[in-house]
């Protein structure tokens, strides 16, 4: 009964602050859309080079098909193998297609031939898109051949991603935005809303009342927990229906893991609120202390593998990193719980640790 009274009041605070609410819901939508369309999958007139060692009918046909598509602008100049590397480094070309000299012969005698596709994967999104275009054109060509000859032909493109073989960076932003938004809502908003009560002097009144101090904090956190879950839903809906990024794994698992991360963030928020006395300080600490490490160390913007060892070690204590790995694993790789139990365990451990520390400092403050 008392708890419900309290919750009602907390929801009134949150829902009445229209400006903040607008930011809280507008931000993830804007971020998803901006990131989504800035990282568009559509690539047109990309400069590629074709090195045709075969120069036979079959290879000519394939090149003509490539030319016919809107996607490529084929450099006619014949380059040596050493010049390919140079052109890539200069950024002149995005992709190179190498047709071996025995292409037509292999196709005619073994019904099976190979081509090599080399892409500049320093821009992983473009590289991925371009190689996909090549593959589909090749598949198209191979079906055409099979249809006219009545036998099945196979052309296997062997793909090489230069500079970034694992294509890190693709679709990274959705899990990244999720981590960022949850961090912002939970840590900053919770900290600020609790500190506001301290600043206003209402916290004293609440502490003198028979309402348990712990309950005060919990009921402050609940509206933000709900708000964050709604944000997760919005982000997922946008990524599926607007950005065509499918969710390969279980949505339920995704929400369970998100709730875990939200609780981690709320705990951090409560900890900050216990330690600070003014809203500005709480906001500053939340931004500098939590947002910055999240952006730097979650792997969302900068690949952790490329960092110096010391920074790699530091990145391990950032909760967002583990959440980011979990979300990517579920959404993009489609892994189940068995694939992410280790990360989940680490995140849970952090949450429990933070919870104990916050509750302790909270109690000390009261005494």
């Amino acid at each position: 009964m008392q708890f419900i009274t309290f919750l009602k009041k907390e929801f009134a605070h949150v829902l009445r602050d229209r400006k903040t609410l607008l930011i809280l819901f507008g931000m993830p939508i804007a971020q998803i859309l901006i990131f989504g369309f800035a990282l568009t999958n559509e690539v047109k007139n990309a400069k590629i080079v074709v090195i045709d060692y075969a120069k036979d009918v079959a290879s000519q046909k394939l090149v003509t098909k490539l030319e016919a598509s809107q996607y490529f602008e084929i450099e006619k100049t014949v380059l040596g193998a050493d010049q390919i590397d140079k052109s890539f480094k200069e950024g002149v070309i995005k992709l190179a297609l190498v047709i071996p000299s025995n292409f037509g012969a292999d196709l005619a005698h073994q019904n099976h031939a190979q081509i090599q596709v080399i892409a500049d994967a320093s821009d992983p999104n473009t590289a991925n898109t371009l190689t996909n275009y090549i593959s589909s054109i090749v598949v198209d060509y191979q079906q055409e051949l099979s249809r006219s000859a009545g036998i099945s032909f196979r052309i296997v493109p062997e793909t090489r991603m230069l500079y970034n073989p694992q294509l890190l960076g693709v679709y990274n932003f959705v899990p990244g935005v999720m981590a960022l938004v949850l961090m912002l809502v939970c840590v900053m908003m919770t900290a600020v809303s609790i500190v506001r009560e301290k600043e206003m002097g209402t916290m004293e009144i609440l502490l003198v009342s028979p309402f348990k101090p712990l309950m005060v904090v919990i009921s402050k956190a609940i509206p933000y927990l709900l708000l964050s879950l709604i944000n997760v839903a919005i982000i997922l809906l946008l990524s599926v229906y607007v950005l065509d990024l499918p969710i390969h794994g279980s949505i339920l698992l995704l929400f369970v893991e998100s709730t875990l991360f939200i609780i981690t963030c709320l705990t951090v928020g409560i900890f900050i609120s216990v330690k600070t006395a003014s809203q500005q300080v709480a906001m500053l600490i939340s931004l500098m202390g939590m947002m910055l490490p999240t952006i730097l160390f979650s792997g969302f913007m900068f690949p952790i593998e490329n960092m110096p060892v010391a920074l790699q070690v530091i990145s391990n204590v950032v909760p967002a990193k583990w959440f980011y790995i979990i979300v990517k694993a579920i959404m993009i790789k489609g892994l189940g719980f068995s694939g992410i139990w280790k990360e989940t365990l680490i995140l849970s451990g952090m949450t429990v640790f933070l919870l104990i520390v916050s509750l302790r400092t909270f109690k000390i403050r009261l005494a």
């Binding site: 008392q2 009134a12 002097g201 009342s209 309402f211």
Partner: protein
């Protein structure tokens, strides 16, 4: 007379610093008790102990019949509190504030309904009931704040400099509310820096450097010190203080 606050050598130490030193006093039911002292004299520390917010280092105290060491939860149910900072929620309406504060003291829906309509009528806030508290003038806010603090009919209400920053007319009106509450049998424990307000109290104590140096009715204090105003009594005592802000 019923004693509602009884302390015996109540002391609070922070390391070597003795914030409140062997405070012994009794406050009776329905009394308006002024708790005076210069800044840093230890008023707030003493009051926090009486409210069950802070555990004493030594000494004893019984508040509203309950022990400050073991029964803080029961104490909290039986006291009201209003601080110098304005203590309602600006972004809630008058009614919502009443419901909220009544609610956390465990009043039922029926009680809340009756009490809130009665309170709004008494304060003449019929037209403002569903408006946000931020739109009220400070004087009204303060009156509402006090009324909310006594809504659950506590035995004692603690007022920590309740009239800071309020004009004399509004202050006078505020004290009318305090007298009404005292007439209903609520004990008022009030801290203030205004000596005219000290005169309104039945009895006052004056704290200097953590100790209660004087405790009597305003008229007795004045005659004991051989002065004509409370200002002079306070000045004579506080002049010797070594602690300050």
């Amino acid at each position: 007379m019923d004693t509602v606050i009884k302390t015996d050598k109540l002391t609070k130490r922070f390391g070597a610093f003795i914030a409140a030193n062997e405070i012994t006093l009794e406050v009776y039911k329905g009394e308006i008790f002024g708790f005076l002292g210069a800044n840093g004299a230890g008023k707030t520390t003493a009051m926090r102990m009486l409210c069950g917010l802070s555990t004493p280092s030594s000494g004893n105290a019984i508040i509203a019949g309950f022990d400050v060491y073991k029964q803080t939860e029961k104490i909290k149910k039986n006291i009201g509190y209003m601080s110098q900072k304005f203590s309602l929620y600006d972004d809630l309406t008058v009614l919502e504030n009443i419901y909220f504060f009544g609610g956390i003291y465990g009043l039922s829906d029926d009680q809340l309904k009756n009490k809130s309509s009665e309170l709004i009528k008494r304060l003449g806030l019929e037209n403002e009931a569903t408006k946000l508290v931020s739109s009220l003038p400070l004087g009204w806010k303060q009156k509402l704040s006090f009324s909310v603090a006594v809504l659950h009919e506590p035995k004692i209400v603690f007022l920590d400099e309740p009239t800071g920053g309020v004009d004399p007319v509004t202050r006078r009106q505020f004290w009318d509310l305090i007298y009404e509450a005292a007439d209903r049998g609520v004990t008022i424990f009030v801290t203030t820096h205004y000596m005219d307000e000290a005169e309104y109290c039945n009895r006052i104590s004056i704290m200097v450097d953590g100790k209660v140096e004087a405790l009597d009715s305003p008229s007795n204090l004045k005659s004991n010190f051989g002065v004509r105003s409370m200002d002079e009594v306070f000045y004579q005592l506080a002049r010797g203080a070594k602690r300050g802000d």
